[in-house]
């Protein structure tokens, strides 16, 4: 079994940014994404997850390294100032390279 290196980009942000983030994912060419609701605490206070307005989402997206670069660059330029948000990348290995 050959495994292929890919990049996993993780974004934690306020739920109200959801549409904006998934739109961005489509634009940079991600083939899919996974998303769920989380609570959190950070520079912009506690987000306690009790009402939708104060909930976070965590988005995970598997992309080739080049796409990760574009994605993070655009997040930095267009999103970091506007939304409560954290984003990072890590290295993973997948089997079906062509899927991502």
């Amino acid at each position: 079994m050959t495994k292929h290196p890919m990049t996993l980009v993780t974004i934690v942000c306020e739920k109200l940014a959801r549409e904006a983030v998934t739109k961005l994912l489509r634009e940079v060419g991600a083939h899919g994404w996974t998303l769920w609701e989380v609570e959190g605490s950070g520079a912009q206070g506690n987000r306690t997850g009790d009402i939708p307005e104060f909930t976070n989402i965590q988005v995970e997206v598997i992309v080739p390294p080049g796409v990760a670069e574009t994605l993070l660059t655009r997040l930095e330029k267009e999103f970091f100032k506007r939304y409560a948000m954290v984003a990072y990348e890590s290295d993973i290995r997948v089997i079906r390279r062509e899927k991502f």
């Binding site: 306020e14 109200l16 940014a17 549409e19 904006a20 609701e37 206070g45 306690t48 997850g49 009790d50 009402i51 939708p52 307005e53 104060f54 909930t55 506007r82 939304y83």
Partner: protein, 334 residues
């Protein structure tokens, strides 16, 4: 303040709904681990909106359009005008940044369904009749102010050199204003009520009518917790906004009562109309601002609408707007 007002305040504060609200505030202040799961919050919202929509629609189907069109138009007009003067006050008296002033004025021009429901609950409590179709005013007053606020904000950003094309943003804001979940639920349930009429309401009254006041009480328990979590930010928003959060609803409320009377509503109806004018949106408006005006600081508008105006309105505001209406209708002076 005379005895009547005090009595109305007492009647309001001693209703289960208000007492549960206070319980929620206290639970948060003593750092209890009590917490409503988010799906419960959403469920209660869906229930309350569909229930008042259905009841309002059934009432509309009885009352007919002739009685409703004038106050409906007045409601829309208020929704457009309140943001304008509110914006001016925030910008030129409060000296807030233009984009923040725009976001806040959208909240105060729009309406809070829960405040409205608490008002109907209060009127029931004291035995004051009102027009059941008043829900229609709630439905039409949610969106106009949001669109006005987004427009004001975008124009301000343009002056500051943001070259983003207005068209797309306005389209987004319009979509949110017309098809956001609270509008869809409320307007949709109104239409269901109109089409299925009294018969439809009766068939479903065991769910949409009898438990209603109790569900509201439970929901206000949650709202007490939600509002109290905002108290920590009170010191971060500055003294102007603290004052604004109480003065704005009072002024808007008085204007609303008088206009309600002028367009032919009853004493109870004018109280509801005043409450709508006084109330500040804390669901639809914040969502629309994060979407269409993310440059505005959410701490400011959420703290004002949810941490100050909402608690003020449902505790002291409601009896006050009722007293104003009584005075306007020739009862006792407020």
């Amino acid at each position: 303040m005379n005895a009547d007002l005090l009595q109305a305040i007492q009647a309001n504060l001693l209703s289960p709904a208000l007492l549960f609200f206070v319980l929620g505030v206290v639970a948060t202040l003593v750092k209890s681990d009590l917490k409503f799961p988010e799906p419960l919050y959403i469920t209660l919202t869906i229930y309350l909106l569909t229930a008042i929509g259905l009841k309002g629609g059934a009432a509309l189907s009885e009352a007919g359009l002739a009685q409703v069109w004038l106050p409906t138009l007045a409601g829309i007009a208020l929704g457009v005008l309140i943001p304008l003067w509110t914006y001016a006050a925030l910008r030129f008296v409060g000296r807030l940044p233009a984009v923040d002033a725009a976001a806040i004025c959208a909240h105060y021009g729009s309406v809070s369904a829960v405040t409205f429901i608490a008002a109907t609950n209060f009127l029931k409590q004291i035995g004051q009749p009102f027009e059941d179709y008043a829900t229609a005013f709630l439905a039409v007053m949610e969106s106009p102010a949001i669109i006005v606020g987004v427009l004001l904000g975008k124009l301000a950003l343009r002056r500051d050199g943001d070259a983003a094309p207005l068209g797309g943003v306005i389209k987004g804001a319009l979509h949110e204003a017309l098809f956001g979940r609270s509008v869809v639920l409320l307007v949709g349930a109104l239409l269901v009520g109109i089409l299925s009429g009294k018969k439809g309401l009766e068939a479903t009254a065991g769910f949409f009518v009898s438990p209603f006041q109790g569900v509201l009480a439970l929901f206000l328990l949650e709202m007490g917790m939600v509002a109290a979590k905002r108290f920590a930010d009170l010191k971060r928003v500055g003294p102007f906004l603290l004052v604004f959060g109480i003065v704005a609803p009072v002024l808007n409320g008085v204007v609303g009562v008088l206009i309600g009377q002028a367009v032919g509503l009853s004493l109870g109806g004018a109280t509801l109309f005043g409450t709508l004018a006084a109330s500040a949106s804390y669901i639809a408006a914040p969502a629309a601002m994060r979407l269409s005006l993310p440059e505005a600081n959410p701490t400011l508008y959420l703290t004002a609408a949810l941490g100050i105006t909402f608690p003020f309105n449902i505790t002291l505001g409601l009896p006050l707007y009722f007293a104003v209406a009584r005075w306007a209708f020739g009862g006792t002076a407020p």
